[in-house]
């Protein structure tokens, strides 16, 4: 072997070693926190499932997230972990005879719940349906875009998480990263979800959404009032969903969900199903009510009705 070729071989070996080294470092850096990452990264890595945190640990986690988000978004961000209120089970009513399909609820929800603006994530999908065909999803139009709504001969049906009493999505999660709270809200621990998306396959309502990449959330649009299980900024690679605005509805005095508040025609009703005198109970007992995909026995707590 000549000297030159030997030399070349060495050069090749060196560059190959470099590539391998880079490869190892790359995989290491991306899959796991790097060894000299700040302590909070490791804390996040080893963080327990939300339901296993004791009071102290929870306070630490919330403080860590608050400082992280405050730094990232340049404003004071609070992360609460308000517990369910005793004797409350939330229910939602939607008056199909009133809804005009304006999609204000969709964007009101996005603003309140800090969804990614690019790519866009919407927790509410409004379907345009044909009056002649009735509630037939197979004829639904998802991306309707007329000059004016409502369009002649059509009605509109917003679909979001139905907060099933018998949720198929929580059952399938391999790591218990999603569950139903005592007030009936189905939540996700964004710090425990492994991103397998089995829950998305299991949900019959398309209510679960995945962070396919790092979501864009402009600083000035970020809502700093957040809940750990609700509208705090989401990491990449996890599933998120509607929580009936857990950060609002669990407060005392409570606030209505953003979609309810913003609806210009009063098509949306929200309340406590356990309160016999409540509006939602009145509607269920006195109006023509139906639930979506009743045959699947998911028992939604989201009631569609016709008030007129």
């Amino acid at each position: 072997m000549s000297n030159k070729s030997k030399c070349d071989k060495h050069a090749f070996q060196k560059s190959r070693r470099k590539v391998l080294k880079g490869l190892a470092a790359g995989v290491g850096a991306l899959a796991l926190p790097s060894p000299n990452a700040s302590a909070s990264v490791w804390e996040a890595f080893f963080q327990k499932n939300f339901r296993e945190l004791d009071r102290n640990e929870l306070q630490q986690v919330l403080a860590r997230l608050e400082s992280e988000y405050s730094k990232e978004y340049g404003k004071e961000v609070t992360v609460k972990a308000t517990l369910p209120i005793e004797g409350v089970k939330y229910g939602y009513g939607l008056d199909l005879s009133r809804c005009i399909g304006c999609r204000r609820c969709v964007y009101g929800c996005v603003e309140e719940n800090n969804q990614s603006r690019e790519p866009q994530i919407h927790w509410i999908r409004v379907l345009q349906l044909d009056k002649e065909k009735g509630v037939a999803l197979e004829y639904a139009e998802h991306y309707y875009n007329p000059e004016e709504v409502p369009k002649e001969g059509h009605f509109y049906m917003p679909v979001q998480c139905q907060q099933c009493e018998n949720p198929p999505c929580t059952k399938v999660c391999p790591v218990q990263a999603t569950w139903q709270e005592n007030d009936g809200i189905v939540v996700v621990d964004y710090n425990w979800c492994i991103g397998c998306r089995y829950c998305m396959a299991a949900c019959p309502y398309g209510a679960r959404h995945f962070n396919w990449t790092k979501g864009q959330l402009p600083k000035e649009e970020m809502n700093p009032e957040t809940h750990y299980l609700g509208n705090r900024p989401r990491p990449t690679g996890v599933v998120e969903k509607c929580t009936f605005c857990i950060q609002r509805t669990r407060e005392q005095p409570g606030r209505y969900p953003a979609c309810e508040e913003i609806c210009p025609v009063g098509a949306r009703k929200f309340g406590n199903l356990l309160d016999p005198k409540g509006e939602i109970r009145y509607l269920i007992e006195n109006k023509r009510v139906f639930i979506l995909k009743e045959d699947l026995n998911t028992q939604p707590k989201f009631y569609y009705f016709y008030a007129t």
Binding site: L23, H142, P174, A177, A201, Y205, G206, F210, W212, G237
Partner: protein, 442 residues
Amino acid sequence: MKNIWNFFKGTLVLTARGSTFYYCWVIGLLALMVVGALTYIVQLNDGLIVTNMRDQVSWGFYISNFTFLVGVAAAAVLLVIPAYVYNWKPIKEIALLGELLAVSAIIMCLLFVTVDLGRPDRFWHLIPFVGILNFPQSLLAWDVAVLNTYLVLNLTIAVYYLYNLYYRREPNKKFMTPLLLFSIPAAISIHTVTAFLYNGLGARPFWNASILAPRFLASAFCSGPAFMILVFLLIRKYTRFQIKDEAIQKIAELIAYAMFINLFLLGSEIFKEYYTGTIHLAPMQYLLQGLHGHSALVPWIWTAMIFNFTAFLIFLVPDTRRNNTTLVLGSVLIFIGVYIEKGMGLVIPGFVPDVLHEIYEYVPTGTEMALAIGIWATGLFVFTMLLRVAIPIMNGDFHVADDGVGFHIGDNMFFLRRADRDRLGTESEEEPTAKPDKSDKT
């Protein structure tokens, strides 16, 4: 301990030797593995947005490959049953190779699931007691359990058997046989559980059919053994390992039965959907004829149908089954046919149309394909290495040297035509490379 280390050292030396073709093959695989790894780094960096999966079609090419490969892995059982339940000698000699294929396929399965995860860094959440494995509620937890059990089981059987042959000892039947028998229900379980994973979702009528698990098993008994036939023919031609004709014939015959059941079950499903004609027909229509102008899967599924049916005929008719050319053709057709049918053909229609009847047409991106190729290369690399060790051991070409410490390698080529072997005369080289160790005579 020392013995295990010596054995391991021997296998390292052994795998580093081989014919030019062996080297090209291995280096080629390694290159593809590097491509796959680099692609994965890109995906980790940018997120799963680099795939074409979206909220509507939330599982795609990765999970399709995973599903198909679970079938390939389960196929080892088709060799174990005749070999150990019916004690049929011609297959008993080669059943171990099936187990090695199972090991390689399961490794690929685990890799495909891992690259599909949004948060692979939280992998440890799946480990019982360290994280939280949602067992027995989640079918995915079941799948984690049975796949890993099956992997460990097959590895144990294969390594134990080869290790003993290497040291020229008779493997202990009392240890081996129960494990082998246990591997039969284990193989069935990995496939049943994977089928149930889809089957149990009321939201997806395309999967929510009780025929799914039997169909899975039937098609698994086609694809895996078809691959094994190809491997057996190659091994027989290019290594010194002997495989009897009747063994291969028997496997081909079993494939014909399995393919018949597979086609029958598929036909039953098609009949039920089309004759009833409920709105649950939509995914089937999307798959077979296209829906509202969307028909990405249609040419593929019909290719698969034609391949599967042709192969069924080839394996059914004794003449074509015995003819080497048609046998190879049939095996290739089945492997591709089942890959389409049990991969994308099964997973994608579950999502198209989606639960709110939106149609999002999914086609994998180049990134997804490059990553998948990397994983396939990894699986083939593992399988090659396992065969590189197993075949010489079973031939008696690789065993402990007479001093009880070093090793003897009688086959430096591994992959070479018999005629070329005779010409080169490379057979009987004695090479006890390891030096005698003082402390080793136990």
